[in-house]
Amino acid sequence: MGETHGISRSLCLIKPTGEETLIAVGSYGLQRQAVTAYSVSLEDWNHPLVSVLNDRRHVYFPAAHSAADRRRRPSTPFEDDAFHVAPLNLSGFSDEAVGLLLFAAPPQVVGEVSWFTLVFGQKVDQILRLHALRDGDRRQGRERSLLYSIINAVTDPILLTDTEGRLLIANARALTLFTASEEESEGRRGAVRMNNMLLSSALSSKAIEETGAARRELLLVNPVDGSDLLFELLSTVTDDPRHGTGVVSILRNVSDLRRASEEIEENYRRLRVAEAQSRAERDRLNLIIDSVADPIVVTDAGGATSLMNEPAERMFTMPHRASATEQRWVQANDAHFSSFIAGMLVSADQRRVGEIGLVDPMTGEAMPVEAIAGKILSEHGELTAVVTILHDRREALEKAQLYEQLKQASDELERKIQAATADIAHQNELLRRQAIELEQNSQLKSQFLANMSHEFRTPLNAMLGYTSMMLQGVAGPLDSAAKRQLGRIESNGRHLLAIINEILDISRIEAGRMPLQISTFKIPDLLGDVKSELEPIIMRSKLTVTLDLPKDLKPISSDRQKVKQILLNLLSNALKFTHQGGVTISARRATGERTLSLSVADTGIGIAQVDQEKIFEDFRQLDTSTTRAYGGTGLGLSICRRLAEMLGGQIAVQSTVGKGSMFTLTLPLQGRK
């Protein structure tokens, strides 16, 4: 065609299927190097060659003579020479050109060129199609083997069966379940047969039910070890117009799944138990926390309160129907606590102890607390919470105050005791001095009494002496009246003398000036002395005085003079108050006791019961008339009792009015020295 039409150079560009580039496939009369490197991107819509391809019209580019000419035409291996571009159409009506034919020729060659390009285009198209078909086949083969390797990679058995249940395609896993060669063991083949039967029955019954995806369980036998395998059968009916209806089945092994679900159930159960335990734990913890009398507050890392026990709630939560004051208190508490926590959160301290001045919202009482806060850190060392315990310090403060008071009181007491001790020492000193003084006074008193007694006796001596002389008639005889009167003077003088003597005795006893002179003596001798000393009175009284003494009476150890004085007194009293009958003096040693009883019993006037104790008192006689009638000072018995006590003994009286009296002196056998 070139030679007939004077075509010296040409270039064929085609668009391969699925590509967006025009590439050079053949040339004539052009430099080979320029041709192989030449291509045009179809995405370059403004490219004159792309426009030719899209418009499918023949275009002639005249030779370029200037830069402006060059800008209006594409750069080609033809360079500045004129060339024709003809699209390679499939037909006159085709909407698609498969390539372009470029050739250098005179402007008028269009008739033959269009025929050629049509034929050439069809040929090129055919070639391209064939080419594309071969490509497709190759790709399909690749894809198929890819698909196989994919489905084989799936661990679940996947199989395609026809409507009769015959196996068309199976993956490797499915093959182990459903196929067995002749070499396999009988057991394995039996298992495979059973699996096929189970599968086809499952599929057929499934096919009866409905079309579309359905799930059901299928129990198969593992041909390898005979164990049960539970599958979930997922089958889908595929309609292929070329190959007819088939069923794609995917068997998902749920043996593991069931185990897994059982495990999950077990885990869930455990979880519930754990949850219950942790709830119980938490309840117990809450109980513990609530039972702590001190407020406990748990704060999160952001400073927000996450847990409070009951005492803490009382401090920091608004009471029901709180008054404005109560609200202020709670808010103040909250503010104080928050600032403490804020300080804790920013500090690096793990623990912090501080004092917070809270207010008891129930009473409004100031409540200083000691706050002990500790940080709780996570495993990674992040702050998760702050636990704060508030300890009421009021009690401690109160105790301290009480202790202080107690200490003061004790100091005061000590001071007082010291003062009292000093006072006592002082008093003791005073007492000691007083005792000395008393002793001196007592001595002075005794001295005084001795002197008194002397001073009394001296004039009394003269009075009694002269009276006696007159009565004896020293100064001449007296008439009876004078004698009677002088007798009165004498008896009163004697009475006065007796009183003086007895007062002296009492004062001596009381001043301790009557020392004991202990000696051993015989009672009969003593009683004989007493009796003989009072003989004149006995004679006058005309009474009988009887001694009643046991024969084996042993001597006693005592102050003879004083015992004698007592007995003299008792006997003279007995004689004085007895008008008829007699007086009996008896001695008895009490069996088992180291005492001796000396009794003086009379048959006299007796003493009434009420008076029996009075007679031992100083200056006592039953009435003043007795003094006149019977004489005596009224001091005798009181002296007797004092003397008896000095001797370690006692005097008792038994008496009946009108019948008589018995005075008993009881003495220790061995008198104290």
């Binding site: 002397h454 003269a462 002296l504």
Partner: protein
């Protein structure tokens, strides 16, 4: 007064209380004694030497020189040591009679003492078989008996 009667025993009466002295003196004269008086111990010593009484009645509480001291001196003096001394006192305190005896008194009489009782005591002392002789022995006998 009637000092010429040599058969009457001579009594030296020593007492500072005139009424008592007079009373006893009168009664002793009445009872047949020759009485010489002294008002204190010093006087008594003098009279005892001068008058050579047969017996001395010595009140113990005396001015100038008391009865105890006078008795001690009398008993210490060769001229008077043989004259019996009867102590006479209004003091009734314990130990007085003991003190009197230690001083050398031969008897002890407590006032008030009726004149007749005193005369009895004087006679008792004078009539003692060995009143004039070996008085010291007798005195020690008396000591033993009364203590």
């Amino acid at each position: 007064m009637t000092r010429v009667k040599l058969d009457r025993p001579r009594v030296l009466l020593v007492d500072d209380y005139p009424d008592a002295r007079e009373m006893y003196s009168e009664y002793l004269e009445f009872s047949g004694f020759d009485v010489v008086e002294a008002a204190n111990g010093m006087e008594a010593l003098q009279r005892a030497v001068e008058e050579a009484p047969d017996i001395i009645l010595m009140d113990l509480s005396l001015p100038v020189m008391d009865g105890w001291e006078a008795t001690r001196r009398l008993k210490a003096d060769e001229r008077t040591s043989r004259i019996p001394v009867v102590a006479l006192t209004g003091h009734a305190l314990a130990g007085i009679s003991e003190g009197a005896k230690r001083a050398g008194c031969d008897a002890f009489v407590t006032k008030p003492c009726l004149p007749e009782d005193l005369v009895k005591e004087i006679r008792k002392v004078l009539e003692h078989p060995s009143a004039a002789a070996s008085r010291k022995t007798r005195r020690s006998d008396k000591h033993a008996k009364t203590s």
